[in-house]
Amino acid sequence: MPLRVGEKDFQTRVNKGLDDAFMRGTVRSAQEQLRTRKQASSEELGDWEAWRSLGEEIRTHTLEHLDYYLEQLSDKVAERGGHVYFAKTAEEGNAYVRKVAREQEAKKIVKSKSMVTEEMSLNDALEEDGLEVVETDLGEYILQVDDHDPPSHIVAPSLHKNRAQIKDVFAEKKDYEDSDNANDITRFVRGELREEFLDADIGITGCNFAVAESGSISLVTNEGNADLVTALPKTQISVMSMERIVPTWEELDVMVSLLCRSAVGQKLTSYITTLTGPKGEEEIDGPEDFHLVIVDNGRSDILGTQFQSALHCIRCAACVNVCPVYRHVGGHAYGSIYNGPIGAVLTPLLDGYENNKDLPYASSLCAACTEACPVKIPLHEQLIAHRQIITEKEKLGSMPEKWAMKMFGTGVSAPKLYRLASKQAHRVMSPWTKGSRISNGPGPLKAWTNFRDLPAPASERFRDWFANRRRSEFDE
């Protein structure tokens, strides 16, 4: 599944989201629940703002010394008998994984959630080679079985589906015959997946954070499937995007604390797994063969720019969970595997502006995302920065808008002209004014008055009142 998902244009995707009352209901209740839990669990830590600052500091430091830490990580993995591959592009990353699969004569691969492999379309690449790839996170598994329905949330990929829909998917595709009770469905999937774990030749996981000092990768999960993916198959491949790294275990502790609380409102998740290379001679389980694929895919172009802090992201979806726009349009409207505010920032950076020029505008700039981000990415500011590039550099803004803004610029910097125009507003708008409101405004006002009334411009502006008052004071 590529970075960009869904074929339709932005407005069509938005309308589809707005029309989906069910999805909006589930998103609303998920946001409610996650926000409340996050509030409680972050308060427990004490000074949450101090923790955020620490998180930001760690991410900034790591990114500013990324070459150092990547080299350290790579050396440590190699010392432990693992293989490291740096992939400049998605294609290079896919080619490497395909090569490993060929060398192992693999037939079946089990995976645990990894956004970067979705960004790379790794599954498609492997399936082209005739391999069977099975997603093992419950949410991802549901989507895969449902003809590769795209994820709609960073942490809860199948948030847009309800139990009844999920039951139907399994009934149709997997001959599931039980109820739509969550326990029944989960038990069924567990049975299905158990066989897959035992049969698989290769396990592929993502990586929440790699620890540079020891060459370990860590996985933060709630289902336990990542442990099976890493423990059972003979060959283990972890794919990480190049920025997902911390210097030492001490920073890992901080980042995991921030991640679990921000993502699901838990102090810790059920499983926090760390792996360091292939299994040693005395160890009884773990892979015999370990590969770490470190993917750039456009990220080094972001380093050193005004968007560098977007790479702080730890994929907790805290921004998604507070975003009112996301709540109404849902994840699919963003047309990217990275949705919500961080998706609107990240997608144009990784995929260019041409196909994503609407995303930075899908925000009222309320800054709830910026406030929620545990690593202090100034998301709303970055959305404005994107808009500036779209209008002033890429020239992708509409002509009428450009002219309107030009007129605005002229008007606001010529006070006489401005005063004259604003004085006329009341008279000019009078044909559309009924009582004191305008319900059917002309031209550019239409988008506003389609849904709301506009108050009629006052016949006496504040400045007229003030001037008159001043005059009468002098007269006295």
Binding site: S364, A367, A368, Q388, S413, D453
Partner: protein, 241 residues
């Protein structure tokens, strides 16, 4: 104390009563108020839409207009927050940036000025009504002003304040967002209106003309019987009982 008013474009044209109340309030607390005629708009529509060269024109005009001001007070949290953006907007022109910093240092949103500078916590207002307060995003998140309006409203004689659920969620205005993404904006304002109705308040109070225009406009369209008032009008309200 000498105070220069920045009434903002929406305030000047659409909500002159909020401006009048602002003047009367400040005068009540011994401020000498002036209104520099050269002021236009803070530039936010262009800034937020990405037209920064046009926004810079507005910024420079505003800086010029308030060059001689001791304090700049504005009855809008959002426009006050925009004044603090100028430094960033003009970062490539050091001379202007310096002026921007000077403006930012002397600029206040009205309630912030009353509480933090004039040390007023009770404006002596009296208003017998049930009301709820809309926390505007830019005022609370960008300007970080949350306590001042609550304190002042809490001290209005006779005013029963009811908490608005989901108060931290945006009303869907977002300046040009409301016209660029009208369908999404409409859903957001509908949700806000539902929360307002659930409070059973008679009055919605806000400190930003933009939000009031959006929420008020939707309530007017839907014939929702809740009156919209600017916080300055409430804090300046007196009545005989």
């Amino acid at each position: 104390m000498k105070v220069s008013l920045f009434i903002t474009c929406l305030g000047d044209m659409f909500y002159p009563n909020a401006g009048k109340a602002t003047v009367e309030l400040l005068e009540k607390f011994d401020c000498t108020v002036d209104f520099p005629e050269q002021q236009t708009c803070c530039g936010q529509p262009a800034f937020n839409s990405g037209y920064h060269s046009d926004a810079r024109k507005a910024a420079k005009q505003t800086i010029e207009a308030f060059k001689d001001a001791a304090y700049v007070v504005t009855p809008s949290g959002s426009c006050a927050a925009m004044l603090h953006e100028y430094s960033h907007l003009l970062k490539d022109e050091p001379q202007w940036q310096q002026e921007a910093d000077a403006l930012s240092a002397k600029s206040y949103e009205l309630t912030q000025f009353l509480v933090d500078v004039l040390q007023v916590e009770n404006t002596g207002a009296s208003f017998h009504a049930k009301a709820t307060y809309h926390t505007s995003c830019h005022m609370s998140r960008l300007l970080q002003v949350t306590r001042a309006p609550q304190t002042l409203l809490g001290n209005v004689n006779g005013l029963e304040m009811v908490d608005l659920s989901h108060k931290h969620d945006c009303c869907g205005f977002g300046g040009t967002f409301a016209v660029k993404m009208p369908e999404i904006s409409k859903e957001m304002v509908d949700e806000k209106v539902n929360c307002i109705q659930a409070t059973e308040a008679d009055i919605l109070i806000g400190a930003d003309a933009g939000c009031l225009m959006n929420i008020g406009g939707r309530m007017s369209r839907e014939e929702t019987p809740v009156k919209v008032m600017h916080i300055a009008e409430v804090l300046n309200h007196t009545e005989e009982r």
